[in-house]
Symmetry: C2
Subunit: 185 residues, 2 copies
DNA sequence: ATGCACATGTAATACGTTACATGATTTG
DNA sequence: CAAATCATGTAACGTATTACATGTGCAT
């Protein structure tokens, strides 16, 4: 149900093809609403039938043909109504690593997995910071937040950043604890 | 696929009925692997057929009958193997509020939603701290981590706590930003 | 005696994943 | 010039969520 509004929100940035949306979902929407290309194509189909987006067929010569999608006024209105309602469902997290940590028997094995997670979190943070730099484009955060038309995308990026920072801190703490255990046991 | 191991991990705490598991998933596993009662019953059925858990039928007089489930040695071994493998899928987060923030038009409306989230995060943190107190049971964290048989549940609880702390910080930051915007606009 | 929470499920539907298909462009 | 990656999708299958169903016990 929410995927619908995630797609409409993505189209606030302007006309896009299914493929472009799937890239956008990979790099930025993934932090709060992951979706595979297949989900997006199906959803776009439905949205077009409901008149919330408009599809424009684009014939291409040296590439597969594509369809470009735009928000309609009805879509914009629907999204606006959604954005004003309190969320129906609480935040859901799916994290395989934490199942493994929960079931942990051997500290050495767990250490390796958490260490791997730490490296991956660092990489994600780096990428976020680069996205942030591109958004700010030379301005300070204060300037940006004062002047920018839409600040939503920046605020969700901040959420992604602070999530990964937290993640990193948790990894460090767990590694410290497990290190002591290995030394003791 | 991972739900299977979440259920096995839950049964590490001892024999439990489907209903008891669904309560456990509500209060603690929910932080990293949410599951509805229906999912759990189906999964337990499968696990029993595969010999990874053992079901014991318990006839009750003044309540509906129930089945109690225990890990078998095969289940324990399967879980152990799972816990040693690196995770296949990255962490997934589903957060409706962030879609609304992403699509935000009016700072006043968004403020109300984020403020609500802030209150809810505080409540969750409080409950976590109480669970933590029960686990520690008078000991300091250091004592607990040195002496406890299984520290996995404590480490996943810490993950839940630091996630909510991060959440709270993000809410405060967003509220500050939106407050300035309302004053300016 | 009415309503809420416990305890257990089934059925219908929605959603997500995996595998496949096709052609263009880039890289070694 | 072969292999990898980009760009765009479709089809089949498996998993999850929602709505419904049923009966008990407890509190007011």
């Amino acid at each position: 149900m929410s995927l619908k509004y995630a797609v409409l929100a993505a189209l606030l940035e302007g006309e896009a093809s299914g493929y472009e949306l799937s890239k956008l979902f990979d790099i930025s929407f993934a932090n709060f609403w992951p979706a595979t290309p297949q989900q997006l194509y199906r959803e776009l189909e439905r949205l077009a039938q409901d008149g919330l987006v408009e599809a424009r067929f684009v014939q291409q010569e040296r590439r597969p043909n594509k369809r470009m999608f735009t928000l309609t006024e009805a879509g914009r209105a629907d999204l606006r109504a959604f954005a004003a309602e309190p969320p129906r469902r609480p935040t859901a997290i799916r994290d395989e690593l934490l199942i493994k940590v929960q079931a942990m028997e051997d500290p050495e094995t767990a250490r390796a997995l958490v260490d791997e997670r730490r490296g991956w979190a660092r990489g994600k943070l780096d990428r976020y910071e680069r996205v942030r730099g591109r958004l700010l484009d030379g301005r300070t955060e204060e300037e940006y937040l004062r002047d920018a038309e839409r600040i939503g995308p920046y605020l969700t990026l901040l959420a992604g950043i602070s999530f990964e920072e937290e993640n990193l801190r948790w990894c460090d703490r767990v590694l410290a604890v497990l290190g002591r255990r290995v030394a003791a046991g």
